[in-house]
Protein backbone atom coordinates (compact mmCIF):
# COMPACT_ATOMS: atom_id res chain seq x y z
CA UNK A 1 0.00 0.00 0.00
CA UNK A 2 1.86 3.02 -1.25
CA UNK A 3 0.98 6.64 -0.68
CA UNK A 4 1.40 9.20 -3.43
CA UNK A 5 3.45 11.60 -1.33
CA UNK A 6 4.79 11.92 2.24
CA UNK A 7 5.47 15.29 3.88
CA UNK A 8 8.26 15.45 6.45
CA UNK A 9 8.37 18.42 8.83
CA UNK A 10 11.83 19.20 10.24
CA UNK A 11 11.44 22.01 12.80
CA UNK A 12 15.10 22.74 13.55
CA UNK A 13 18.57 21.30 13.04
CA UNK A 14 18.84 20.20 16.67
CA UNK A 15 16.26 19.51 19.35
CA UNK A 16 16.73 22.39 21.79
CA UNK A 17 17.84 24.71 19.00
CA UNK A 18 14.47 26.47 19.07
CA UNK A 19 12.08 27.57 16.31
CA UNK A 20 9.23 30.07 15.88
CA UNK A 21 6.09 28.17 17.05
CA UNK A 22 4.07 29.46 14.11
CA UNK A 23 6.38 27.54 11.74
CA UNK A 24 5.07 24.28 13.25
CA UNK A 25 1.44 25.39 12.80
CA UNK A 26 2.28 26.23 9.20
CA UNK A 27 3.80 22.78 8.68
CA UNK A 28 0.63 21.11 9.98
CA UNK A 29 -1.49 23.31 7.69
CA UNK A 30 0.65 22.16 4.77
CA UNK A 31 -0.27 18.58 5.65
CA UNK A 32 2.82 17.25 7.45
CA UNK A 33 2.72 13.45 7.80
CA UNK A 34 5.56 13.17 10.31
CA UNK A 35 7.78 15.41 12.46
CA UNK A 36 11.46 14.42 12.51
CA UNK A 37 14.20 16.12 14.50
CA UNK A 38 17.82 15.35 15.27
CA UNK A 39 18.84 15.49 18.91
CA UNK A 40 22.59 15.13 18.68
CA UNK A 41 25.89 15.14 16.85
CA UNK A 42 29.58 14.51 17.30
CA UNK A 43 30.29 18.03 16.13
CA UNK A 44 30.79 19.58 19.56
CA UNK A 45 33.41 17.07 20.55
CA UNK A 46 33.92 13.76 22.38
CA UNK A 47 32.93 14.99 25.85
CA UNK A 48 29.18 14.55 25.27
CA UNK A 49 29.48 10.94 24.14
CA UNK A 50 32.27 10.02 26.55
CA UNK A 51 30.52 11.43 29.61
CA UNK A 52 26.94 10.72 28.42
CA UNK A 53 26.07 14.37 29.07
CA UNK A 54 23.80 16.44 26.83
CA UNK A 55 25.07 19.64 25.24
CA UNK A 56 21.65 21.27 25.63
CA UNK A 57 20.01 22.26 28.90
CA UNK A 58 16.68 20.76 29.95
CA UNK A 59 14.67 23.97 29.57
CA UNK A 60 15.69 24.37 25.89
CA UNK A 61 14.76 20.78 25.06
CA UNK A 62 11.54 20.95 27.05
CA UNK A 63 10.38 24.05 25.19
CA UNK A 64 10.93 22.43 21.77
CA UNK A 65 9.53 19.04 22.78
CA UNK A 66 6.35 20.50 24.31
CA UNK A 67 5.50 22.28 21.06
CA UNK A 68 6.33 19.22 18.94
CA UNK A 69 4.46 16.71 21.12
CA UNK A 70 1.36 18.91 21.12
CA UNK A 71 1.60 19.29 17.34
CA UNK A 72 2.04 15.54 16.82
CA UNK A 73 -0.95 14.79 19.07
CA UNK A 74 -3.13 17.42 17.39
CA UNK A 75 -2.36 16.24 13.86
CA UNK A 76 -2.18 12.53 14.85
CA UNK A 77 1.22 12.15 13.18
CA UNK A 78 4.38 10.49 14.52
CA UNK A 79 7.25 12.41 16.12
CA UNK A 80 10.75 10.96 15.67
CA UNK A 81 13.74 12.22 17.66
CA UNK A 82 17.21 10.91 16.77
CA UNK A 83 20.53 10.88 18.68
CA UNK A 84 18.84 11.78 21.95
CA UNK A 85 20.90 13.67 24.51
CA UNK A 86 23.62 14.77 22.02
CA UNK A 87 25.74 11.59 22.09
CA UNK A 88 22.81 9.17 21.66
CA UNK A 89 23.83 7.22 24.77
CA UNK A 90 21.34 5.22 26.82
CA UNK A 91 21.43 8.01 29.43
CA UNK A 92 20.61 10.50 26.67
CA UNK A 93 17.58 8.44 25.56
CA UNK A 94 16.40 8.13 29.17
CA UNK A 95 16.81 11.89 29.67
CA UNK A 96 14.65 12.74 26.65
CA UNK A 97 12.15 10.00 27.63
CA UNK A 98 11.80 11.47 31.11
CA UNK A 99 11.22 14.98 29.73
CA UNK A 100 8.70 13.51 27.26
CA UNK A 101 6.78 11.72 30.01
CA UNK A 102 6.64 14.88 32.13
CA UNK A 103 5.24 16.87 29.21
CA UNK A 104 2.69 14.19 28.24
CA UNK A 105 1.42 14.08 31.83
CA UNK A 106 1.35 17.87 32.21
CA UNK A 107 -0.44 18.38 28.89
CA UNK A 108 -2.76 15.39 29.26
CA UNK A 109 -1.56 13.89 25.98
CA UNK A 110 -2.08 10.21 25.20
CA UNK A 111 0.79 9.10 22.96
CA UNK A 112 2.57 5.76 22.84
CA UNK A 113 6.33 6.21 23.22
CA UNK A 114 9.14 3.87 22.10
CA UNK A 115 12.76 4.31 23.22
CA UNK A 116 15.49 2.74 21.06
CA UNK A 117 18.84 2.18 22.77
CA UNK A 118 22.05 2.15 20.76
CA UNK A 119 24.83 1.82 23.34
CA UNK A 120 27.13 -1.15 22.71
CA UNK A 121 28.91 -3.43 25.18
CA UNK A 122 32.67 -3.56 24.55
CA UNK A 123 32.75 -7.33 25.28
CA UNK A 124 30.16 -8.04 22.57
CA UNK A 125 32.10 -5.93 20.09
CA UNK A 126 35.37 -7.66 21.00
CA UNK A 127 33.73 -10.94 19.96
CA UNK A 128 32.62 -9.43 16.64
CA UNK A 129 36.15 -8.03 16.16
CA UNK A 130 37.63 -11.50 16.72
CA UNK A 131 35.17 -12.85 14.13
CA UNK A 132 36.48 -10.35 11.58
CA UNK A 133 33.24 -8.35 11.43
CA UNK A 134 34.66 -4.90 12.31
CA UNK A 135 36.42 -2.82 9.63
CA UNK A 136 38.13 0.61 9.70
CA UNK A 137 36.96 3.68 7.77
CA UNK A 138 39.58 6.07 6.34
CA UNK A 139 41.84 7.51 7.70
CA UNK A 140 41.86 4.84 10.43
CA UNK A 141 43.62 1.49 10.58
CA UNK A 142 42.66 -1.84 12.12
CA UNK A 143 41.13 -1.92 15.58
CA UNK A 144 42.41 -3.79 18.63
CA UNK A 145 40.35 -5.10 21.54
CA UNK A 146 42.14 -2.77 24.01
CA UNK A 147 40.79 0.28 22.19
CA UNK A 148 37.22 -1.04 22.49
CA UNK A 149 37.73 -1.89 26.15
CA UNK A 150 39.17 1.56 26.89
CA UNK A 151 36.05 3.45 25.76
CA UNK A 152 33.77 4.94 28.41
CA UNK A 153 30.87 4.82 25.92
CA UNK A 154 30.35 3.19 22.52
CA UNK A 155 27.26 3.75 20.38
CA UNK A 156 26.19 2.23 17.09
CA UNK A 157 24.58 4.55 14.53
CA UNK A 158 21.24 3.08 13.55
CA UNK A 159 19.71 3.41 10.13
CA UNK A 160 15.98 3.75 9.47
CA UNK A 161 15.17 0.10 10.24
CA UNK A 162 14.86 0.18 14.07
CA UNK A 163 12.86 3.43 13.83
CA UNK A 164 10.52 1.93 11.23
CA UNK A 165 10.12 -1.18 13.39
CA UNK A 166 9.13 0.98 16.39
CA UNK A 167 6.56 2.86 14.29
CA UNK A 168 5.12 -0.43 13.03
CA UNK A 169 5.04 -1.59 16.65
CA UNK A 170 2.57 1.17 17.40
CA UNK A 171 4.81 3.98 18.66
CA UNK A 172 3.59 7.51 18.00
CA UNK A 173 6.72 9.02 19.52
CA UNK A 174 10.08 7.38 18.74
CA UNK A 175 13.05 8.43 20.88
CA UNK A 176 16.14 6.98 19.21
CA UNK A 177 19.67 6.70 20.52
CA UNK A 178 22.48 7.38 18.08
CA UNK A 179 21.08 7.39 14.56
CA UNK A 180 22.36 8.75 11.28
CA UNK A 181 21.01 12.30 10.81
CA UNK A 182 19.32 11.11 7.63
CA UNK A 183 17.66 7.99 9.10
CA UNK A 184 15.52 10.15 11.39
CA UNK A 185 13.87 11.92 8.43
CA UNK A 186 13.96 8.99 5.97
CA UNK A 187 12.36 6.34 8.21
CA UNK A 188 8.70 7.35 7.79
CA UNK A 189 8.67 8.04 4.01
CA UNK A 190 10.52 4.71 3.46
CA UNK A 191 7.97 2.91 5.64
CA UNK A 192 5.15 4.44 3.58
CA UNK A 193 6.67 3.12 0.36
CA UNK A 194 8.48 6.17 -1.00
CA UNK A 195 11.48 5.30 -3.21
CA UNK A 196 14.83 5.26 -1.38
CA UNK A 197 16.69 7.71 -3.67
CA UNK A 198 14.41 10.70 -3.06
CA UNK A 199 13.69 9.68 0.57
CA UNK A 200 17.38 9.57 1.55
CA UNK A 201 18.39 12.61 -0.45
CA UNK A 202 15.53 14.65 1.04
CA UNK A 203 16.55 13.44 4.49
CA UNK A 204 20.12 14.67 3.98
CA UNK A 205 18.89 18.08 2.76
CA UNK A 206 16.55 18.62 5.74
CA UNK A 207 18.78 17.23 8.51
CA UNK A 208 19.92 20.70 9.58
CA UNK A 209 16.45 22.28 9.38
CA UNK A 210 16.64 25.74 7.84
CA UNK A 211 20.32 25.42 6.87
CA UNK A 212 19.21 24.62 3.29
CA UNK A 213 17.23 27.88 3.03
CA UNK A 214 18.25 31.48 2.42
CA UNK A 215 17.57 32.31 6.10
CA UNK A 216 18.72 29.48 8.38
CA UNK A 217 17.55 31.34 11.49
CA UNK A 218 13.92 31.65 10.32
CA UNK A 219 12.84 28.08 11.19
CA UNK A 220 12.70 24.62 9.66
CA UNK A 221 11.56 23.08 6.40
CA UNK A 222 8.97 20.77 4.86
CA UNK A 223 10.07 18.10 2.36
CA UNK A 224 7.44 16.35 0.23
CA UNK A 225 8.68 13.03 -1.13
CA UNK A 226 6.91 11.23 -3.98
CA UNK A 227 7.56 8.47 -6.49
CA UNK A 228 9.81 10.60 -8.72
CA UNK A 229 11.64 13.00 -6.41
CA UNK A 230 10.97 15.56 -3.70
CA UNK A 231 10.12 19.22 -3.25
CA UNK A 232 11.31 21.34 -0.38
CA UNK A 233 10.14 24.64 1.09
CA UNK A 234 10.85 26.63 4.26
CA UNK A 235 8.21 26.65 7.01
CA UNK A 236 8.63 30.40 7.36
CA UNK A 237 6.77 32.12 4.48
CA UNK A 238 9.41 34.89 4.44
CA UNK A 239 12.30 32.46 3.78
CA UNK A 240 13.16 30.71 0.51
CA UNK A 241 14.74 27.54 -0.79
CA UNK A 242 16.66 28.11 -4.00
CA UNK A 243 18.34 25.49 -6.20
CA UNK A 244 21.69 26.84 -4.95
CA UNK A 245 20.73 26.85 -1.25
CA UNK A 246 19.43 23.27 -1.50
CA UNK A 247 22.28 21.88 -3.61
CA UNK A 248 24.84 23.63 -1.37
CA UNK A 249 23.57 21.77 1.67
CA UNK A 250 25.00 18.54 0.26
CA UNK A 251 28.39 20.16 0.89
CA UNK A 252 27.75 20.82 4.56
CA UNK A 253 29.77 18.64 6.95
CA UNK A 254 30.29 15.98 4.28
CA UNK A 255 33.71 14.76 3.16
CA UNK A 256 32.21 13.68 -0.19
CA UNK A 257 29.29 15.85 -1.44
CA UNK A 258 27.98 13.27 -3.92
CA UNK A 259 28.06 9.93 -2.15
CA UNK A 260 27.12 9.17 1.47
CA UNK A 261 27.09 5.80 3.16
CA UNK A 262 24.13 4.72 5.25
CA UNK A 263 23.81 1.36 7.03
CA UNK A 264 21.77 -0.10 4.16
CA UNK A 265 23.64 1.41 1.21
CA UNK A 266 24.93 4.57 -0.42
CA UNK A 267 23.09 7.77 -1.31
CA UNK A 268 24.29 8.94 -4.74
CA UNK A 269 23.26 12.43 -5.85
CA UNK A 270 25.73 12.76 -8.75
CA UNK A 271 22.86 12.86 -11.26
CA UNK A 272 20.43 14.91 -9.14
CA UNK A 273 18.84 18.02 -10.64
CA UNK A 274 17.63 21.02 -8.65
CA UNK A 275 14.88 23.18 -10.19
CA UNK A 276 12.98 26.19 -8.82
CA UNK A 277 9.23 25.48 -8.71
CA UNK A 278 8.55 29.04 -7.58
CA UNK A 279 10.60 31.67 -5.76
CA UNK A 280 10.73 29.67 -2.51
CA UNK A 281 10.22 25.98 -3.44
CA UNK A 282 12.71 23.62 -5.08
CA UNK A 283 12.13 20.33 -6.90
CA UNK A 284 14.85 17.66 -6.80
CA UNK A 285 14.91 14.61 -9.07
CA UNK A 286 17.45 12.02 -10.15
CA UNK A 287 18.65 11.03 -6.64
CA UNK A 288 19.69 7.42 -6.29
CA UNK A 289 20.28 4.92 -3.51
CA UNK A 290 22.51 1.90 -4.10
CA UNK A 291 21.74 -0.94 -1.70
CA UNK A 292 24.95 -2.36 -0.20
CA UNK A 293 25.75 -6.07 -0.39
CA UNK A 294 26.64 -5.96 3.32
CA UNK A 295 24.66 -4.04 5.91
CA UNK A 296 27.04 -2.13 8.25
CA UNK A 297 26.63 -0.14 11.46
CA UNK A 298 29.12 2.65 12.19
CA UNK A 299 30.54 2.80 15.71
CA UNK A 300 31.41 5.88 17.71
CA UNK A 301 33.45 5.61 20.89
CA UNK A 302 35.14 7.98 23.28
CA UNK A 303 37.65 7.42 26.06
CA UNK A 304 39.26 9.49 28.78
CA UNK A 305 42.64 10.75 27.55
CA UNK A 306 43.60 12.30 30.90
CA UNK A 307 42.62 15.14 33.19
CA UNK A 308 43.13 18.77 32.25
CA UNK A 309 43.90 21.96 34.12
CA UNK A 310 43.97 25.33 32.39
CA UNK A 311 45.78 28.51 33.34
CA UNK A 312 45.39 31.76 31.48
CA UNK A 313 47.17 35.13 31.48
CA UNK A 314 47.51 38.07 29.11
CA UNK A 315 50.41 40.14 27.81
CA UNK A 316 50.24 43.75 26.59
CA UNK A 317 53.93 44.76 26.87
CA UNK A 318 55.11 45.46 23.27
CA UNK A 319 58.62 44.25 24.05
CA UNK A 320 57.47 40.76 25.03
CA UNK A 321 54.94 40.73 22.18
CA UNK A 322 57.70 41.45 19.68
CA UNK A 323 59.39 38.24 20.89
CA UNK A 324 56.29 36.24 21.84
CA UNK A 325 57.26 32.93 20.20
CA UNK A 326 60.69 33.01 21.80
CA UNK A 327 59.00 33.79 25.15
CA UNK A 328 56.60 30.84 24.78
CA UNK A 329 59.44 28.48 23.86
CA UNK A 330 61.35 29.61 26.94
CA UNK A 331 58.23 29.14 29.10
CA UNK A 332 57.82 25.58 27.81
CA UNK A 333 61.51 24.76 28.40
CA UNK A 334 61.77 26.23 31.93
CA UNK A 335 58.44 24.68 32.92
CA UNK A 336 59.78 21.25 31.94
CA UNK A 337 62.88 21.80 34.08
CA UNK A 338 60.89 23.00 37.10
CA UNK A 339 58.36 20.15 36.86
CA UNK A 340 61.20 17.62 36.67
CA UNK A 341 62.89 19.18 39.70
CA UNK A 342 59.87 19.75 41.96
CA UNK A 343 57.33 17.09 40.91
CA UNK A 344 59.89 14.58 39.58
CA UNK A 345 57.87 14.03 36.40
CA UNK A 346 59.37 13.36 32.96
CA UNK A 347 57.96 15.06 29.87
CA UNK A 348 56.40 11.70 28.91
CA UNK A 349 54.30 11.67 32.11
CA UNK A 350 52.18 14.65 31.13
CA UNK A 351 51.41 16.91 28.17
CA UNK A 352 51.34 20.69 27.86
CA UNK A 353 49.89 22.91 25.14
CA UNK A 354 50.78 26.62 25.20
CA UNK A 355 48.37 28.60 23.04
CA UNK A 356 49.02 32.24 22.11
CA UNK A 357 45.55 33.68 21.49
CA UNK A 358 45.85 36.90 19.49
CA UNK A 359 49.09 35.68 17.91
CA UNK A 360 48.56 32.27 16.27
CA UNK A 361 46.59 30.05 18.68
CA UNK A 362 43.97 28.91 16.17
CA UNK A 363 46.12 28.03 13.15
CA UNK A 364 49.58 27.73 14.81
CA UNK A 365 52.35 27.22 12.25
CA UNK A 366 49.85 27.38 9.38
CA UNK A 367 48.80 30.95 10.21
CA UNK A 368 49.56 33.13 7.17
CA UNK A 369 49.57 36.45 9.12
CA UNK A 370 52.73 38.17 10.38
CA UNK A 371 53.56 41.02 12.74
CA UNK A 372 53.20 41.47 16.51
CA UNK A 373 49.71 41.52 18.00
CA UNK A 374 48.43 44.36 20.20
CA UNK A 375 47.79 41.92 23.04
CA UNK A 376 48.11 38.16 23.45
CA UNK A 377 46.32 35.77 25.78
CA UNK A 378 48.52 32.91 26.91
CA UNK A 379 46.59 29.73 27.62
CA UNK A 380 48.41 26.89 29.29
CA UNK A 381 46.60 23.60 29.01
CA UNK A 382 48.04 20.71 31.00
CA UNK A 383 46.94 17.08 30.66
CA UNK A 384 48.06 14.45 33.17
CA UNK A 385 46.85 11.01 34.24
CA UNK A 386 45.04 12.54 37.23
CA UNK A 387 43.58 15.92 38.10
CA UNK A 388 45.89 16.65 41.06
CA UNK A 389 49.00 16.19 38.91
CA UNK A 390 47.61 18.39 36.13
CA UNK A 391 46.86 21.16 38.62
CA UNK A 392 50.26 20.76 40.34
CA UNK A 393 51.98 21.29 36.97
CA UNK A 394 49.84 24.36 36.27
CA UNK A 395 50.77 25.73 39.70
CA UNK A 396 54.46 25.18 38.98
CA UNK A 397 53.91 27.16 35.76
CA UNK A 398 52.24 30.05 37.59
CA UNK A 399 55.32 32.10 38.59
CA UNK A 400 56.70 31.64 35.08
CA UNK A 401 53.50 32.79 33.41
CA UNK A 402 53.44 35.77 35.78
CA UNK A 403 57.07 36.90 35.63
CA UNK A 404 59.06 35.20 32.84
CA UNK A 405 61.23 37.79 31.01
CA UNK A 406 62.44 37.46 27.44
CA UNK A 407 66.15 36.63 27.17
CA UNK A 408 67.18 40.27 26.67
CA UNK A 409 65.14 41.77 29.55
CA UNK A 410 67.07 42.88 32.63
CA UNK A 411 63.96 42.95 34.85
CA UNK A 412 61.01 40.73 35.72
CA UNK A 413 57.76 41.71 33.98
CA UNK A 414 54.35 40.88 35.48
CA UNK A 415 51.62 39.69 33.14
CA UNK A 416 47.86 40.29 33.43
CA UNK A 417 46.03 37.33 35.00
CA UNK A 418 42.26 37.72 34.66
CA UNK A 419 41.39 35.34 37.51
CA UNK A 420 42.34 34.29 41.01
CA UNK A 421 42.89 31.41 41.46
CA UNK A 422 44.74 31.22 38.14
CA UNK A 423 43.99 27.52 37.53
CA UNK A 424 40.71 26.08 36.26
CA UNK A 425 40.26 22.32 36.56
CA UNK A 426 38.54 20.97 33.43
CA UNK A 427 38.04 17.44 34.76
CA UNK A 428 38.39 14.38 32.52
CA UNK A 429 39.25 15.07 28.89
CA UNK A 430 37.83 12.74 26.25
CA UNK A 431 38.89 11.72 22.77
CA UNK A 432 37.09 9.95 19.92
CA UNK A 433 38.81 6.67 19.14
CA UNK A 434 36.49 4.65 16.89
CA UNK A 435 35.95 5.20 13.19
CA UNK A 436 34.88 1.68 12.29
CA UNK A 437 31.87 -0.26 11.02
CA UNK A 438 30.38 -3.60 12.09
CA UNK A 439 28.93 -6.05 9.59
CA UNK A 440 25.45 -7.13 10.70
CA UNK A 441 23.00 -9.70 9.37
CA UNK A 442 19.98 -7.82 10.66
CA UNK A 443 19.98 -3.99 10.69
CA UNK A 444 18.15 -3.96 14.03
CA UNK A 445 20.30 -6.52 15.87
CA UNK A 446 22.53 -3.99 17.70
CA UNK A 447 19.58 -1.95 19.01
CA UNK A 448 17.03 -2.52 21.79
CA UNK A 449 13.54 -1.05 21.72
CA UNK A 450 11.38 -0.49 24.79
CA UNK A 451 7.74 0.46 24.42
CA UNK A 452 6.63 2.72 27.22
CA UNK A 453 2.95 2.84 27.95
CA UNK A 454 1.26 6.14 27.32
CA UNK A 455 0.51 7.81 30.67
CA UNK A 456 -3.24 7.68 30.00
CA UNK A 457 -3.10 3.85 29.75
CA UNK A 458 -0.97 3.39 32.86
Amino acid sequence: MNDTAIRVLVPTGMLGGGFPPETIERGLQLGADVIAVDGGSTDSGPFYLGSATPKTTRAQVEWDLRTLLKAAAEARIPLIVGSCGTGGTDAGVDWIAEITTDILVAEGLDLAVAAIYSEQKDSALVERLAAGAIHPLPPHGALDATTLEGCTRIVGMMGHEPIEAALRGGAQVVLAGRATDTAVAAAYPLMRGMPPGPAWHAAKIVECGGQCTTDPRAGGVLATIDAHGFTIEPLNPAASCTPASVAAHMLYETADPFRMREPAGTIDVTAATYRAVDERTVRVEGSEFEPAPQHTIKLEGARISGYETMSFTAIRDPHILANIEEWATLLHKVLGEWVARTLRLDVGDYAVDIRLYGHNAVLAEHDPATGPAREVAVMLLVRAPDQATATAIAKVANPLMLHLPTADMAYLPSTAFPFSPAETERGPAYEFVLNHVVDVDDPTELFRTEYRKAPADA
Partner: protein, 114 residues
Protein backbone atom coordinates in the same frame (compact mmCIF):
# COMPACT_ATOMS: atom_id res chain seq x y z
CA UNK B 1 46.37 44.74 -5.51
CA UNK B 2 46.04 41.04 -6.40
CA UNK B 3 42.81 39.56 -5.09
CA UNK B 4 42.70 36.60 -2.73
CA UNK B 5 40.39 33.64 -3.31
CA UNK B 6 38.39 34.94 -0.34
CA UNK B 7 37.85 38.28 -2.09
CA UNK B 8 36.67 36.47 -5.22
CA UNK B 9 34.20 34.40 -3.13
CA UNK B 10 30.78 34.96 -1.61
CA UNK B 11 31.82 32.79 1.31
CA UNK B 12 34.70 30.58 2.34
CA UNK B 13 33.93 28.25 5.23
CA UNK B 14 35.32 25.22 7.05
CA UNK B 15 33.76 22.62 9.33
CA UNK B 16 34.20 19.11 10.64
CA UNK B 17 32.90 16.25 8.52
CA UNK B 18 32.67 13.87 11.46
CA UNK B 19 35.34 13.69 14.18
CA UNK B 20 38.19 12.72 11.85
CA UNK B 21 37.80 14.90 8.74
CA UNK B 22 37.93 18.61 8.01
CA UNK B 23 36.08 19.95 4.99
CA UNK B 24 35.96 23.43 3.47
CA UNK B 25 34.19 25.15 0.61
CA UNK B 26 34.91 28.14 -1.60
CA UNK B 27 31.60 29.57 -2.85
CA UNK B 28 32.87 31.74 -5.72
CA UNK B 29 31.02 34.90 -6.83
CA UNK B 30 30.93 34.09 -10.54
CA UNK B 31 32.38 31.92 -13.29
CA UNK B 32 35.59 33.95 -13.41
CA UNK B 33 36.11 33.46 -9.69
CA UNK B 34 35.30 29.78 -10.08
CA UNK B 35 37.82 29.49 -12.92
CA UNK B 36 40.50 30.95 -10.61
CA UNK B 37 39.67 28.61 -7.71
CA UNK B 38 39.14 25.52 -9.88
CA UNK B 39 42.42 25.98 -11.80
CA UNK B 40 44.45 22.87 -11.01
CA UNK B 41 47.67 24.86 -11.33
CA UNK B 42 46.48 27.27 -8.62
CA UNK B 43 44.74 24.96 -6.18
CA UNK B 44 45.66 21.31 -6.07
CA UNK B 45 46.39 18.56 -3.55
CA UNK B 46 50.00 19.71 -3.05
CA UNK B 47 48.97 23.31 -2.35
CA UNK B 48 46.41 22.16 0.25
CA UNK B 49 49.02 19.85 1.78
CA UNK B 50 51.41 22.79 2.15
CA UNK B 51 48.75 25.15 3.59
CA UNK B 52 47.56 22.68 6.23
CA UNK B 53 50.49 20.34 6.84
CA UNK B 54 48.62 17.21 5.69
CA UNK B 55 49.76 14.46 3.27
CA UNK B 56 48.83 15.40 -0.33
CA UNK B 57 47.61 11.87 -1.08
CA UNK B 58 44.89 12.22 1.59
CA UNK B 59 43.51 15.49 0.20
CA UNK B 60 40.24 15.26 -1.77
CA UNK B 61 39.18 18.14 -4.04
CA UNK B 62 35.72 18.43 -5.64
CA UNK B 63 35.25 21.02 -8.39
CA UNK B 64 31.52 21.73 -8.88
CA UNK B 65 30.97 24.20 -11.76
CA UNK B 66 27.15 24.13 -11.45
CA UNK B 67 27.47 25.84 -8.06
CA UNK B 68 30.74 27.76 -8.68
CA UNK B 69 32.07 25.77 -5.73
CA UNK B 70 35.39 24.13 -4.95
CA UNK B 71 35.27 21.79 -1.96
CA UNK B 72 38.29 20.36 -0.15
CA UNK B 73 38.36 17.54 2.42
CA UNK B 74 41.27 16.04 4.34
CA UNK B 75 41.74 13.97 7.51
CA UNK B 76 41.94 16.16 10.58
CA UNK B 77 45.63 16.66 11.49
CA UNK B 78 44.59 16.68 15.19
CA UNK B 79 41.71 14.53 16.49
CA UNK B 80 38.63 16.54 17.46
CA UNK B 81 38.66 17.57 21.11
CA UNK B 82 42.21 16.32 21.76
CA UNK B 83 44.76 18.30 23.82
CA UNK B 84 46.18 20.03 20.75
CA UNK B 85 42.86 20.68 19.03
CA UNK B 86 42.45 24.46 19.02
CA UNK B 87 39.34 24.45 16.80
CA UNK B 88 36.78 21.85 17.96
CA UNK B 89 34.37 22.51 15.06
CA UNK B 90 37.14 23.21 12.47
CA UNK B 91 35.28 26.50 12.05
CA UNK B 92 38.27 28.80 11.42
CA UNK B 93 40.47 26.62 9.25
CA UNK B 94 39.31 28.19 6.00
CA UNK B 95 41.53 31.26 6.46
CA UNK B 96 44.81 30.06 4.88
CA UNK B 97 42.78 28.89 1.85
CA UNK B 98 40.87 32.18 1.64
CA UNK B 99 44.11 34.18 1.71
CA UNK B 100 45.61 32.31 -1.25
CA UNK B 101 46.30 34.72 -4.13
CA UNK B 102 45.69 33.19 -7.59
CA UNK B 103 47.62 34.60 -10.53
CA UNK B 104 45.60 36.99 -12.74
CA UNK B 105 43.36 35.24 -15.29
CA UNK B 106 45.57 36.19 -18.27
CA UNK B 107 48.62 34.71 -16.51
CA UNK B 108 46.95 31.34 -15.89
CA UNK B 109 47.23 28.42 -18.26
CA UNK B 110 43.52 27.67 -18.52
CA UNK B 111 40.09 29.20 -18.04
CA UNK B 112 39.29 32.47 -16.34
CA UNK B 113 38.15 34.51 -19.32
CA UNK B 114 35.26 36.89 -18.75
Amino acid sequence: MPETLGELALEVRSKNAGPFWTTMELFMRDEAGYAAAADEDVLNEEVVARLYGVPAEQVRIFRIPDLNVVKISFPRPVPQGGLRDRDVHSGQHHVPLALLVPPAADARGSGGTD
